[in-house]
């Protein structure tokens, strides 16, 4: 008997990569250029500035460090969701998708606390170059996290429908996006919050 994975391999397009997955990767590389332009602008502003606040004293690095742990943990639960989908383990898939959504929401809630801390210290998007850079970069990243949460919540709801059985690859594609958002934060955390 032919295993389901072998059937999927036999139905691949000429590229050898499922079309949906190829599309997600092409979208992600366009996102690399988007965040690359933002980071490039940040580096130019920071190196051209006469003075720049010490992030370790301006930001709550313990809170932001905890937020980093939250996001990398969500990447692990996303991996477990993808593996559960491959095993046709719907319960495991839903449990791990829900955990990923909750961790993503926790990340945004902690980001809200971070913003409140900065606003309390008089640091806003129009107060300084530091504020403009920090809120622009972390704001766009936060919007990406929010988009990921919406996508995962939609998949969680869709997983209850019979048609989901023919669309399991959507979980892997959503996972690629979620991990990309994690990678962006890993880099932003060091560039904005620690250096």
């Amino acid at each position: 008997m032919t295993a389901p994975a072998d059937v999927r391999e036999a139905n691949l397009p000429a590229t050898g990569i499922p079309t949906g997955k190829l599309g997600v990767w092409l979208f992600l590389v366009s996102e690399v250029m988007f965040f690359g332009a933002l980071v490039g602008s940040y580096l130019l502003l920071r190196m051209g500035a006469r003075s720049w606040p010490d992030p370790a004293r301006t930001l709550d690095t313990a809170l932001l460090g905890a937020n980093t742990f939250v996001l990398i943990t969500s990447s692990v639960t996303m991996v477990l969701a993808v593996r559960a989908a491959e095993r046709n383990d719907l319960r495991g898939l839903r449990r791990n998708l829900l955990l990923t959504i909750l961790l993503g929401t926790t990340f945004l809630a902690l980001k809200g606390l971070d913003y409140a801390h900065l606003f309390g210290a008089g640091i806003t998007i129009d107060a300084s170059l530091f504020g403009a850079s920090y809120f622009t970069l972390t704001g766009f990243h936060g919007l990406h996290v929010l988009a990921g949460i919406v996508a995962l919540a939609s998949l969680l709801a869709f997983s209850r429908r019979p048609a989901f059985a023919r669309r399991r690859e959507w979980i892997e594609n959503a996972g690629l996006y979620w991990h990309f958002v994690d990678v962006v934060w890993i880099l932003l955390f060091v560039l904005l919050c620690l250096l």
Binding site: V29, G48, A49, R50, V190
Partner: protein, 97 residues
Amino acid sequence: MNGTAGRARLLRPGAVYAWLAVLTALELGAVRASIGRGATVALLLGSAAAKAALVALFFMHLRVERRLLHAIVVAPLVLLALFLLALIPDIGRVHLG
């Protein structure tokens, strides 16, 4: 991914997570330790690059993906590096308040 054979070449998610957690703790410790600005910058950038690579290779499965996908990922990274290099001449000239 290239079938179940490729799966065997991926680290367990728990092992990758442990590495990510250790490197994050190292970053937080490096900021508090007095090891010099140059060493701190090198350590932080190296750690961030290692963490990003771990996620891309093992969670996003790039380690076992096809060469076409590798080319698709590497091309914008090369462009991005060139873009950042092109900014270097401006860094010395732009002075902001």
